[in-house]
């Protein structure tokens, strides 16, 4: 019991799994040795019912983080303060270690896409998003992590690189980064650049969490479906930054074509083994810093 309690305090570590409803009965019955779970914030904000309770039950047994899609931090519709307050309440109720969102807009003119949509990397957008992150962090009463998204288009008016945009956001607002390696790979393939070049621009001092996932090819594009195991190219990219990531927790996301729990668990274990095997030597960490 003491050992179990000791893992419930302190920062997240190791490879975690995104919690999905159909897996909860197996997780509660088997109590798998998963380092931590990430809850999809928006799934657990209902005023009551099983999904609300599910978040509490998992948080009583595992360290958790919250990952949301509803803040529309890059949007131009007014920030929804009631929504932010309900995220804060959920974070407090589950004692979430980290709270993350996406660098995206999800609504415009009162219409909601409920999908993560891209913005141009401009000074205007930077000022706008930084202001909204300040407000969001104020209401939440804590730092939030911002995730780089998969974007199937690029804007002609972008005057900054995405990594410059992210670095400036962190510096100005005190937010941190959730680096999604699958999104980096998907974007690099879809827009024709080398993902290693993109990763070379990452401000590692701000990275607090890493995501990996599977993707699907459709009509000549890689689509960020979270629908399978993590491909070799993405695992190689992950390992290429192992010495820079330090003790960052890593999370496997799996949303579509959801397999039985034991399949997802096996994939988490595989990633954990690979991640552990490539633990950097102290000398590498020294150089990285």
């Amino acid at each position: 019991m003491a050992a179990a309690r000791s893992s419930m305090v302190g920062p997240l570590a190791g490879v975690g799994a995104g919690l999905r409803g159909p897996h909860v009965p197996d997780i509660l019955a088997e109590r798998p040795a998963i380092a931590w779970f990430e809850l999809l914030t928006d799934n657990h904000l209902a005023a009551g019912g099983g999904l609300r309770r599910q978040a509490e039950v998992i948080a009583e047994r595992y360290p958790v983080s919250l990952h949301g899609v509803g803040m529309s931090l890059a949007g131009t519709d007014p920030l929804d303060r009631d929504y932010l307050a309900s995220v804060r309440e959920l974070a407090e109720r589950t004692e979430a270690r980290l709270v993350s969102e996406h660098l995206a807009f999800t609504s415009a003119g009162g219409q909601h896409s409920n999908d993560l949509l891209p913005i141009p990397w401009t000074e205007e957008a930077l000022d706008h998003v930084a202001g909204r992150i300040d407000v969001a962090q104020g209401v939440l009463g804590r730092q939030i992590l911002i995730e780089n998204i998969s974007a199937y288009v690029e804007f002609t008016e972008s005057s900054l690189s995405e990594t410059e945009f992210l670095e400036t956001l962190c510096r100005r607002t005190g937010c941190a980064l959730l680096l999604d390696i699958n999104n980096v790979y998907v974007n690099a393939v879809n827009h024709g650049y080398d993902p290693s070049d993109w990763l070379a621009g990452v401000p590692w001092c701000h990275v607090r969490e890493i995501h990996v996932a599977g993707h699907t090819e459709r009509d000549g594009l890689l689509i960020d479906t979270h629908g399978g195991t993590v491909c070799t190219a993405v695992v190689e990219l992950l390992l290429s930054v192992r010495h820079l990531a330090g003790a960052c927790p890593v999370l496997l996301e799996w949303d579509t074509n959801l397999p039985p729990w034991h399949v997802l668990e096996t994939e988490v274990e595989r990633l954990q083994r690979v991640w552990d095997r490539h633990q950097p030597e102290p000398r590498q960490l020294w150089h990285a810093s």
């Binding site: 019912g49 999800t106 003119g109 909601h112 879809n190 689509i223």
Partner: protein, 263 residues
């Protein structure tokens, strides 16, 4: 052009293939897939997500129609509308009305004239799943009140409870197909039901008597115990007392509020 304009144009463009003029010249067109293919990825995501949400909210309608036909008719008959809510669980309330408009145009669905009513019932089930938790009825406090205070107290139904009335026995169809249904229920005739959530958070549907339905409607309108007694025929007061205890036991009645004499 401002960020707000760009975002409105973008959302419009991924909602409809013919409205992407506002984005021309603003998207990089390098090698690889062209602009339409790239916007198509968003259009596809949007469509698939909404089909998934509607299928989750209306699983029995989807089963009755067949998953493939359900999907086809959602796409072809313009059921996939815009969404004015951040909460995806709130998306889909339009489906019963959409089905009522769509059915007459589809002769192959003539035998399924009950479908809009089934959808109406499924929406109540969907909302029951997400409704606020009810606090337990404080029986000890209630019985400690004087008879006069009890008669004046407002009795509240649980937030997850709703009432349903249809000429079609759609509750029987729901019980036959839903994961938490009871396939043994084969009652015929009009469906007069109560939709609620059990202690395991599972939505349930129970048939109730017409008088129970009327009395629960009164409760929803903030009736007090004296109002209920007044609305119930005197020769059925014993049944009313029994029902009230049963509703408390099932969690259909959540709490009560003491009311001042002059209200």
């Amino acid at each position: 052009m401002s960020l707000a304009h760009l975002q409105r144009d973008f959302l419009r463009a991924i909602g409809d293939v013919n409205t992407d003029a506002g984005l021309r010249g603003r998207l990089r067109t390098g090698s690889g897939p062209d602009m339409q293919q790239r916007l198509g990825a968003y259009r596809n995501n949007l469509r698939e997500m909404r089909i998934k949400v509607l299928t989750a909210a209306y699983p029995v309608c989807a089963t009755v129609l067949g998953e493939r036909y359900w999907r086809q008719i959602l796409v072809n008959s313009k059921a996939i509308t815009g969404n004015s809510s951040r909460d995806l669980n709130a998306y889909g309330e339009h489906i019963p009305a959409w089905l009522a408009r769509m059915l007459p145009r589809h002769p192959e669905l003539l035998e399924l004239e009950y479908l809009p009513e089934l959808a109406r019932l499924e929406w109540l089930v969907h909302r029951a799943r997400l409704a606020a938790d009810a606090s337990a009825f404080d029986l000890a406090r209630f019985v400690s009140l004087s008879e006069d205070e009890r008669n004046r107290a407002w009795i509240r139904l649980a937030p997850a409870l709703s009432l349903f009335h249809s000429d079609f026995p759609v509750d029987v169809i729901w019980h036959r197909h839903a994961a938490s249904g009871d396939p043994g229920q084969d009652t015929v005739g009009a469906a007069i039901c109560c939709v609620y959530r059990d202690s395991e958070f599972e939505p349930r549907i129970s048939r109730i008597e017409p008088l129970q339905y009327q009395l629960m409607l009164r409760l929803r309108e903030r009736a007090c115990l004296a109002d209920l007694a007044h609305a119930c025929p005197p020769d059925r007061h014993d049944e009313l007392a029994h029902w009230l205890w049963e509703w408390i036991r099932l969690g259909w009645i959540a709490e009560f509020e003491e009311r001042d004499q002059d209200v």
